[in-house]
C-alpha cells in the first residue's frame, strides 16, 4: 500500500487529537445530562471564579483561614481537627437557611441517609420529615420579602420549630410491626417531649381567653408550670430524629399522634433492607424510587406490569426520576423546575426515552412524595399515567447532595419541580 503524504498524516494526527478532545468533552456533557443540573452549574461557578475578579469586600476564604489560625494559636486546647472546623462552618451555613430540606448531616447521619436512598433503613425503620404548618410557611414566605436587617421581618424563632412527622415506614420493619403509619406525628421519645412551637401559640390563646374571661388566671400559672416541666425534659426534633433513625440495637419508647389520638409503642431497632419493588397485590406492585430502582422497573414493564403502588415511599433518589421516566415515555419536557430567586423556570427534560410509551396506573396518596411524586406527576402531565387516590404530598423539592472529606455531608434545595410545561421559557424562533 502506498504511504499517504506526510502533510496529510500530520493533519490527520492533529484532527484526531482534536476530535479526541472534543469527544471527551461531549461524552462528559452527555453523562452529565442525566444527572442533576447542579453539577453543570458547579462547573459554571468554577469558570466564574477563574474569570471574575474577587470582590475585595467579601474575602470569605481568607476569613476562614484567619479565624482557624486564630483558634489554633489561642484556644485553650490544641485545635488539630481541621476537617471538623470546615464541617462546622458548613453546618452553620446550611443551618442558617432554616430549610427542612437543606440539612447538614454528621458522618453517621449522612451514611444512614445514603443507605436510605438505597432502601436500607436503620433505627426503628422510618423516614421522618420536618413539617411546617400553613402559618409557619406563611411566616417563612414573609421572610423572603423583607430586608435582612429588618428585625420585625424575622419570624419569632420559637414559633418556627417544625413538627417531626413520619413520612415513610419500612414494610416489615420494627415501626411497621408496632403499627406506626406515614403521617403520624412524633411527640415524645423516651418520655422526653419533642420541642414544638405550639406552646407559644397556646400561651397566646390562653392569654386571650383569660382576657375575655373565658379562663381563670390560675390557668396561666398552671400553664407556666407545664411549660417549665416540659422544657426540663425535652429534646429537639433533630435529636429525636437521630434517636429514631440511627442505630441498630437499642430500644426506644415512642409516643405519637394520629388524627388527634395519642398512641405509644416501645420499639427495638434493627436494619431493614427494602427492595424497590414488592410482591404484586391486588394487581399492583409497590414501587419505590430507591437507587437502582429503574433496573427493576425495566423488568416489571417487560413482564407487562402496568399498575404501580407509589404510596408509603421515602423521598427516594432523585436521580432515578429521569431514569424511570425514560423507560416509560418519549424524550421530552416533563414539567419545569423553578426557584425563588427570580430566575426563569427551566424545563425538566428527559433526553432519551422509549418510542412506544407505556400507559400506567399509579396508586398514590399523601404519603407519595419526593422522587415518586415527581415521577407520578410528570407522567400524568404527559398523559402517560392515571393517578388513583388522594392528593400527593406536595414534596417536590429538588436537592443536591454533597459529601465533605470527613464523611459528613449536606443536602441543598436547588429548585422545585412544577408539573407545568414552561411555555414562557421558549426562546424566539424555537417552536
Amino acid at each position: 500500500m502506498q504511504q499517504p503524504p506526510k502533510s496529510l498524516l500530520a493533519s490527520g494526527v492533529v484532527l484526531s487529537v482534536l476530535a479526541a478532545g472534543l469527544a471527551g468533552a461531549i461524552i462528559r456533557e452527555n453523562r452529565e445530562q442525566g444527572s442533576s443540573v447542579v453539577e453543570r452549574q458547579q462547573a459554571q461557578i468554577g469558570r466564574m471564579l477563574v474569570s471574575n475578579a474577587k470582590d475585595p469586600e467579601i474575602p470569605e476564604s481568607e476569613f476562614f483561614y484567619e479565624l482557624s489560625k486564630l483558634l489554633k494559636e489561642n484556644y485553650v486546647d490544641p485545635v488539630t481537627d481541621d476537617d471538623k472546623l470546615a464541617s462546622g462552618a458548613a453546618r452553620g451555613m446550611i443551618g442558617s437557611l432554616s430549610d427542612g430540606n437543606s440539612l447538614f448531616m454528621n458522618p453517621a447521619q449522612f451514611k444512614a441517609f445514603r443507605n436510605l436512598q438505597k432502601g436500607q433503613f436503620e433505627g426503628i425503620g422510618i423516614e421522618t420529615i420536618y413539617w411546617f404548618s400553613e402559618t409557619q410557611l406563611d411566616q417563612l414566605g414573609q421572610r423572603d420579602k423583607k430586608k435582612p436587617d429588618d428585625e420585625q421581618a424575622l419570624p419569632d424563632p420559637t414559633a418556627m420549630v417544625p413538627q417531626l412527622r413520619v413520612s415513610a415506614v419500612a414494610p416489615g420493619g420494627p415501626a411497621a410491626e408496632a403499627g406506626i403509619q406515614p403521617g403520624d406525628r412524633l411527640l415524645y421519645i423516651d418520655n422526653k417531649w419533642i420541642i414544638a412551637s405550639e406552646l407559644v401559640a397556646e400561651l397566646r390563646d390562653l392569654q386571650k381567653k383569660v382576657a375575655d374571661k373565658k379562663a381563670t388566671p390560675d390557668a396561666l400559672d398552671e400553664f407556666r408550670i407545664k411549660v417549665r416541666d416540659k422544657l426540663k425534659t425535652s429534646i429537639t426534633p433533630a435529636r429525636a430524629r437521630d434517636v429514631l433513625t440511627l442505630g441498630t440495637t437499642s430500644s426506644v419508647k415512642v409516643v405519637y399522634e394520629r388524627r388527634g389520638k395519642q398512641l405509644s409503642a416501645t420499639i427495638k431497632k434493627r436494619v431493614v433492607r427494602v427492595q424497590p419493588a414488592g410482591e404484586p397485590k391486588d394487581g399492583a406492585v409497590a414501587f419505590r424510587l430507591f437507587t437502582g430502582s429503574s433496573a427493576k422497573l425495566s423488568r416489571l414493564l417487560a413482564q407487562g406490569v402496568t399498575k404501580l403502588d407509589l404510596r408509603n415511599g421515602t423521598r427516594g433518589d432523585l436521580e432515578e426520576v429521569r431514569k424511570c421516566l425514560s423507560l416509560v415515555g418519549p424524550s421530552s419536557a416533563y414539567g419545569s423546575i423553578g426557584t425563588k430567586r427570580g430566575s426563569a423556570t427551566r424545563p425538566f427534560t428527559i433526553a432519551t426515552g422509549v418510542r412506544s410509551s407505556k400507559q400506567l396506573e399509579l396508586i398514590v396518596d399523601e404519603s407519595t412524595r419526593g422522587a415518586a411524586e415527581i415521577f407520578a406527576l410528570a407522567l400524568k402531565l404527559k398523559g402517560l399515567a392515571k393517578l388513583t387516590g388522594p392528593k400527593t404530598a406536595g414534596d417536590l423539592t429538588i436537592f443536591s447532595i454533597r459529601e465533605l472529606p470527613d464523611g459528613s455531608g449536606y443536602t441543598l434545595s436547588t429548585g422545585i419541580y412544577r408539573p407545568l410545561l414552561a411555555s414562557t421559557t421558549k426562546r424566539e424562533g424555537q417552536k
Binding site: 464541617s87 462552618a89 443551618g95 435582612p148 374571661k213 429537639t236
Partner: protein, 418 residues
C-alpha cells in the same frame, strides 16, 4: 519496538491525553479537580481538598445554587459561627458586628446605662423581673419583682435571648419604653410606660430576714464597685443588735465578672488561701490567693445560694467557700463557666471570643460546661451540697415563696440548734 511502533504509541498517548483534557477541562478551569469522581479516578489517587477549599466550595454552592437568594455576608457569618461552634465550647463564639459591639459595651461600663432600673432573668415566655432597683424609673412606674415581661414596644419577646430583650428595653435618655407585663394571679396583662434614665446598678444589697436574725446579701455581679457594696452590707448585718445568727449569700443569676472582686470578697472569709489555679494554653499557671489579712471573723454558718445562671466568678466564690468548708451550697448546679475569654477583633467589625485559659478550684475540679451539638447541657458546673429545685411560683428573694431561700434558712437554723 519499531519506529512506527513508537509513533503509534505516541499518537495513542496524545489521543488519550486529549480525550482526558476534553473530558476534564471544565474541572481544570474551575480549579476543583476533586469535584468529579470520574476525573479523580482518571488523574490521581484521592486528593483531599483543604478545609479552606471545603469551606469555599460549600459557600459558593449555597450562594449560587440555593433556590432562594442568600445574603453572602450573612452566610459568611453563619459559617464562622459554625466554625467556632464546632469546638463545643459555648463561650468560644463568633460575634457578628452588632453583637461584638454590644459585648464590648457590656464589658467596658455596665455600671451606668440608660434603662429602666431592673434586673431581668431569662424565662421561656419572655423576661422575668428578678430585682427592681430602689428609686429607679421601673419601681416608680410600678414594675414588681416576679413580673414577667411579655412584650416590649408591642413586640412579643418570648423565645428571644435575654441580652436581646435587655437591649430592646434600654435606649436613649429622655425616651420611654412600653412594656406588657404578666403578673401572677392577674387576669389581664399590665401595661407600663416607663421613662428611661441613667441607672447605676447596685451589685450587692443586704437585708435581715424577718426575725430570724439571719442576714441575706444578694450579689448580682462581680463588678468594680461590688466589693465596697458587699463590705457595706456585711458590716451593717454584723452590727445588728443580738448578733448575726447566719449569713445567706445569694449568687443565683450572677453571671460573674472580675476575678479580682471575687478575690477581695473571699478575703473577708479566709486569709492567704489559693482561690483558683489558671492554666493557659502556653502551660503557664497562675494561682491568685486571698489577702493575708482582712477577714471579718464571721463565726456563724454561711449558705451560698446558686443556680444554673451562677457563672464564672460567682462559681469561683461559691466553690472556694465550699472547698475550704466555710459554706454550704444550696440550690441547683451552676453554669460551668470556669474559663477566661479574650475577644479578638476581626475585619469588618466582627469579633471572635475565644477561651484562652481555664480555672480550677482549690479541690482541682474542672467544672467546665459541656454541651452537645444542639447547645443542650450535658455536664458541668458546681453541684450544690443540698439540691433544691426552684418552685415554679417562687419569687427569688421573697421568703414566703422562695423555697431555695427557705431551705437555706432551715439549714442554718438546724446548724445553730446543734
Amino acid at each position: 519496538m519499531t519506529n512506527s511502533g513508537w509513533k503509534a504509541g505516541a499518537l495513542i498517548g496524545l489521543l488519550v491525553g486529549s480525550f482526558g483534557v476534553g473530558y476534564g477541562w471544565r474541572d481544570l478551569a474551575a480549579g476543583t479537580l476533586g469535584s468529579s469522581p470520574d476525573v479523580q479516578r482518571l488523574l490521581s489517587p484521592k486528593r483531599k481538598p483543604t478545609p479552606t477549599q471545603v469551606f469555599k466550595a460549600t459557600f459558593n454552592d449555597i450562594l449560587t445554587n440555593y433556590y432562594r437568594k442568600v445574603d453572602p455576608v450573612e452566610l459568611k457569618y453563619a459559617g464562622m459561627e459554625g466554625l467556632m461552634g464546632s469546638l463545643g465550647d459555648p463561650h468560644t463564639m463568633f460575634m457578628e458586628p452588632v453583637l461584638a459591639d454590644v459585648f464590648s459595651q457590656e464589658t467596658k461600663g455596665t455600671r451606668n446605662f440608660v434603662g429602666v432600673g431592673a434586673r431581668l432573668a431569662p424565662d421561656p415566655l419572655g423576661a422575668k423581673v428578678r430585682t427592681v432597683f430602689r428609686d429607679g424609673p421601673a419601681e416608680k412606674a410600678g414594675l414588681k419583682n416576679g413580673d414577667l415581661i411579655t412584650t416590649v414596644e408591642g413586640k412579643q419577646v418570648a423565645g428571644k435571648e435575654i441580652e436581646s430583650i435587655v437591649s430592646m428595653i434600654r435606649g436613649k435618655e429622655g425616651t420611654s419604653v412600653r412594656l406588657e407585663v404578666m403578673r401572677p394571679k392577674r387576669a389581664t396583662p399590665v401595661q407600663l410606660v416607663i421613662p428611661r434614665g441613667t441607672i447605676i446598678a447596685p451589685t450587692a444589697e443586704g437585708e435581715l430576714l424577718g426575725d430570724t436574725g439571719i442576714g441575706y446579701i444578694t450579689v448580682s455581679s462581680f463588678s468594680e464597685p461590688t466589693t465596697e457594696q458587699f463590705d457595706k452590707a456585711l458590716n451593717e448585718l454584723m452590727t445588728v443588735p443580738g448578733g448575726l445568727k447566719g449569713l445567706i449569700i445569694d449568687m443565683r443569676g450572677n453571671p460573674g465578672g472580675l476575678l479580682q472582686t471575687a478575690v477581695e470578697m473571699l478575703s473577708r472569709f479566709c486569709e492567704d488561701k489559693v482561690v483558683v489555679t489558671m492554666k493557659a494554653r502556653s502551660g503557664r499557671e497562675e494561682s491568685p490567693r486571698t489577702f493575708t489579712n482582712g477577714s471579718v471573723g464571721l463565726k456563724c454558718p454561711i449558705v451560698v445560694l446558686v443556680n444554673e445562671n451562677s457563672a464564672s466568678a460567682a462559681e469561683i466564690f461559691a466553690g472556694v467557700l465550699r472547698d475550704y468548708k466555710l459554706a454550704t451550697l444550696v440550690g441547683e448546679h451552676t453554669y460551668g463557666k470556669a474559663s477566661v475569654q479574650n475577644v479578638f477583633n476581626l475585619v469588618g467589625g466582627s469579633g471572635a471570643k475565644i477561651t484562652v485559659a481555664r480555672y480550677y478550684l482549690p479541690g482541682g475540679e474542672d467544672i467546665s460546661r459541656r454541651v452537645d451539638e444542639d447547645g443542650q447541657y450535658i455536664s458541668g458546673g458546681l453541684p450544690p451540697d443540698v439540691k433544691v429545685p426552684l418552685d415554679p411560683k417562687a419569687v427569688l428573694g421573697e421568703l414566703e415563696s422562695d423555697n431555695q431561700l427557705q431551705k437555706a434558712v432551715s439549714i442554718i437554723q438546724s446548724k445553730l440548734a446543734k
